[in-house]
Symmetry: C3
Subunit: 200 residues, 3 copies
């Protein structure tokens, strides 16, 4: 993997791990439980994608940097929970950036492994939202992504841009940039204006 | 895959997706959450089987028709929930048909991939019940299959017929028919007469 | 696999299956639900490890002895729940032995499949704790390992010994013995003295 995407990937891992650790602190888990939630929230999306497309062992299992970054985020949250809480609004912005990055990189990896366009888009979305779902299932809660403000749709839009550009043979770095910007923009607007999907 | 089994497989996917979507409506999920539950309820059993036997990418990930059928069922439920509720009893019959089909096709696929008879039977059952378990875990509930009327046992019986016929080298289409009929019949009788397994 | 490790592995499966079945009895599951929990508690850790390292089909899917031992433990618990409850304290000791064994054998298998030392240690731990996590998720509870007395840490220590010895090219049977003894000792002491990890 090239350096810039790799660093961005680890940055996404870090912010998602923060969200997992925060949820663990709130549920009074011990330090080990907090670290498990950090790792699960940051890496389950990518691990599931890799198992489904046959990229085994998954990146987050084969390369210990993902573990390291996840544990770092977990330990920071454990020792300085207040620091994270007070900065949660900036963290939400980082989380939107992580979502954008994972959706785009997840769709790209699925295309490389030969998935068809529809399912590559879906796997991009899964890469973005899978970690949060694992975090919530481990806390015995219904995943918030199933009823929160626009979250998965933002990931879906970002992933779709990457896949459509690939079908049209447009340059892939530009597509990644546009896809990530669209996902990030949608998510930030959804937080700001409380955009939600309809309920039956 | 031949045409008839394929169409039956998609029909099973459709009815299982209806059950997932209905559960999502009941828990007040948004439209995205409902579609996720549709897909999860219809496809998790088959996806898990495929990952375990090494058929990667799983059928439901590689072929977007499964996604399409799942989303269709989800959208119908979202826009016309009353229509589904009022027809739930016929839907239960379709669900029994879906269970029968998945149990039989799941066992056949496991045999093709060289699993031994005992585990092929189990994977047939898992194909039938896995989706409903995923649906319930995502809703933070104990899977109903763990304490409902005879459900898994019907799937087990159907899968066992397929596997035993394979061991005796009997013709596979006839075995599939008998297995599916047995599973379907057991399940419909269990619903009608409230058959249950003993509790400790 | 050689005979002694294999027998020890099945013994670990048996005690973990007992813990799953007991939890099922407590939650008033039917006999099928109890057997599912027996199998899940005993085998999910190993199955997840095998899927992640690419050892497909996983051992517990390919070899029906794991299923047989799990079902035996489940049926004993179903028919004689009081016998298990009254002996729970010895069972806890067996559970510690199962944990020790799974952590050590899980780390060894991950090393054989070429995982790096850090992740092999982690997969050893996952092999030990994964079953209990699956059991609790299926019961819609937060996994106790995320907040119980020292449990995962004991598994981690045992797995680490195996991995470190492998890096130093020390003889592997001795390392397995020391690792298992360390894990077992830590876990028994944690139960006896109520050792816990700090909470944030």
């Amino acid at each position: 993997m090239e350096l810039l995407p790799y660093i961005l990937d680890l940055a996404g891992t870090f912010v998602f791990a923060l969200s997992g650790a925060m949820a663990g602190v709130k549920h009074r888990l011990d330090v080990f439980g907090i670290l498990v939630l950090s790792f699960a929230a940051a890496n389950t999306g990518g691990i599931t994608r890799d198992v489904l497309i046959g990229a085994v062992p998954p990146g987050a299992i084969n390369d210990w940097h993902y573990l390291g970054v996840s544990l770092l985020a977990g330990l920071i949250t454990f020792y300085f929970p207040a620091a994270i809480t007070q900065r949660w609004s900036p963290v939400l912005v980082f989380d939107a950036a992580g979502l954008a990055l994972f959706a785009v990189s997840g769709a790209q990896k699925a295309l490389v492994y030969g998935l068809n366009p529809v399912m590559a888009t879906l796997l991009g979305m899964l890469t973005g939202i899978g970690g949060g779902m694992a975090r919530d299932v481990l806390l015995a809660k219904i995943p918030t992504v199933l009823r929160a403000e626009l979250y998965a749709v933002a990931a879906l839009a970002g992933a779709a841009i990457v896949v459509i550009a690939n079908m049209l043979q447009l340059p892939s770095p530009a597509a990644a940039l546009v896809g990530a910007a669209l996902c990030f923009g949608l998510r930030v607007m959804a937080i700001k204006y409380g955009w939600r999907l309809p309920v039956a």
